[in-house]
């Protein structure tokens, strides 16, 4: 009997081994080349991989994703997606599933992760303020209203960024203030207040965590706080950059983040002027103002800082321009698609992913040749976020 099994059924063991391999086992992999693309109209995100320039999976059930933004856990495994409807969804990039979700406000626009990675903080328009959550469980650990004045009003919060020491900095659109909240003991948040310019609409912290720069809608100029010398208070930089001229209409508010910093300078979108303003960090002298196609929205440095790529507000949102930071001149103007809403560079900047909302695609360009490398279909794509953000202060 046994010799018959050996003679005729020897193949059973290898086949069983093969079939064990064929059952879907999770492939071991890192997350450093992963990211998400927001498909804003359908409340979905795509999990993408930049090495293979491909979409790996789609995750749905994330609510209203107009103006969605994303931050990453410090292990690069989870994306925290902030929806306009106040939803905060934790997406597992490896399994492409929702690992947690809370609806934490009525109207939210973004968030940040603490230096130690334990807190994820949301910035909210309604009710105005910030809220901190346990990054593992999404349990609420601190609620800091952006109250101002004597009548119990709360301001919309913009420009939230993480700072060293588990502190968070943000601006109050309605109250003309910058605030720093220390959440090193979340049960006892401590907030410092700094009067700022009129109607801050967004802000950035430089990659070293030193300077916080808030863009202002309500006046010509920006507000800067030196976090190494906070007692000096907020200083106006580039005051009167509009030279008293009539401002042009702004059909979409620009966005600011640490990507504005390149070659020791900040490249900043003017408000109501079709210009990129260049200011030297530290001295705050105006270095240049570069005329561009329309109202700039994202003015984003390639990771090496040699180039800055710019997209524009409606109705000129089909255009993209590239500035050489060595000469501060435009070196390219092109149309990657209809309604370019966002762009994101790969971690070392050899490629850039560009979302074209009205063409329902993401276009991937080689940044050296500016030739298109690939296109991926996506439903009304907006924000594109790569996990390399997990390791950068202010992202």
């Amino acid at each position: 009997m046994l010799h018959l099994i050996v003679k005729y059924m020897w193949w059973i063991v290898p086949v069983l081994l093969l079939s064990a391999c064929a059952t879907p086992q999770p492939t071991l992999r890192g997350t450093g080349d992963l990211g998400v693309v927001i498909e804003r109209a359908t409340g979905q995100v795509q999990v993408i991989e930049t090495s293979g320039r491909k979409s790996l999976a789609q995750v749905s059930g994330l609510g209203d994703l107009s103006h969605a933004s994303v931050v990453f856990s410090r292990d690069g495994r989870y994306a925290y997606v902030f929806g306009r409807d106040g939803g905060l969804t934790k997406v597992d990039l490896l399994t492409a599933t929702i690992a947690g979700r809370v609806v934490q406000a009525g109207n939210s626009i973004g968030g940040a992760v603490s230096q130690d990675g334990r807190l994820v903080v949301a910035q909210n328009y309604e009710p105005g303020g910030i809220k901190a959550f346990d990054a593992a469980t999404l349990e609420l650990v601190a609620d800091v209203p952006a109250d101002y004045g004597t009548e119990g009003k709360r301001s919309k919060v913009v420009g939230l960024a993480d700072l060293p020491g588990n502190r968070f900095i943000y601006s109050l659109f309605d109250a003309n203030e910058i605030r720093v909240t220390d959440l090193s003991d979340p049960k006892n948040p401590k907030t410092e207040r700094y009067p700022a310019g009129k109607q801050p609409y967004d802000a950035l912290v430089t990659p070293d965590g030193r300077y916080y720069i808030a863009g202002l809608f309500g006046e010509d100029g920006l507000s800067m706080l030196d976090l190494w010398q906070p007692a000096q208070g907020v200083r106006a930089i580039l005051p009167g950059y509009g030279r008293g001229e009539q401002a042009l209409p702004v059909y979409k508010m620009p966005h600011l983040r640490g990507w504005a910093v390149a070659a020791g300078r900040a490249y900043l979108p003017a408000i109501g002027r079709h210009e990129v303003l260049v200011v030297e960090l530290g001295s705050w002298k105006e270095v240049a103002r570069i005329p561009v196609k329309s109202q700039p929205v994202f003015v984003m440095a390639r990771p090496d800082g040699r180039e800055v790529w710019v997209n524009f507000a409606f109705p000129d949102n089909g255009w993209m321009q590239v500035i050489d930071t060595f000469t501060n001149r435009l070196v390219d103007t092109f149309q990657p698609g209809r309604a370019i809403l966002h762009l994101e560079f790969t971690p070392k900047g050899e490629a850039v992913w560009i979302s074209a909302r009205d063409d329902n695609k993401v276009a991937i360009y080689d940044t050296a040749t500016r030739r298109k490398l690939a296109e991926l279909p996506a439903a009304s794509p907006s924000g594109i976020f790569f996990t390399s953000r997990a390791f950068r202060t202010g992202f």
Partner: protein
């Protein structure tokens, strides 16, 4: 064509072509939506839902679209939408704005 739009949205303004109606709905949902939200529940700008606009006079809403609101981020859309188109948008907002059928081809 405006196949994705409810019949009421197409019939309400015989002088606007279906193609233009589609563009206007896309404009309001997507580009006005960048401040007012895709669902028009509000953002940096106020909510534009039917209940939120109930007590606002029609003429002042039309004027706001065309001329903007100085001192706020609301820009003028004169030159982008015509007066009858602004009025059409206000009337649709008042009854609950139609969903976006997507960008025109």
């Amino acid at each position: 064509m405006a196949a994705g739009l409810p019949a009421a949205a197409q019939e309400a303004s015989p002088q606007l072509q279906p193609q233009r109606i589609r563009e206007l709905v896309h404009l309001v949902r997507q580009d006005c939506g960048s401040c007012h939200g895709l669902t028009l529940q509000g953002g940096l700008g106020p909510a534009l839902t039917a209940p939120a606009l109930r007590d606002k006079p029609r003429e002042s809403l039309v004027a706001t679209i065309l001329g903007g609101r100085p001192g706020t981020p609301m820009p003028p859309f004169r030159g982008i939408v015509a007066e009858d188109e602004a009025a059409w948008i206000v009337d649709r907002l008042a009854e609950g704005f139609p969903p976006d059928p997507g960008a025109s081809r």
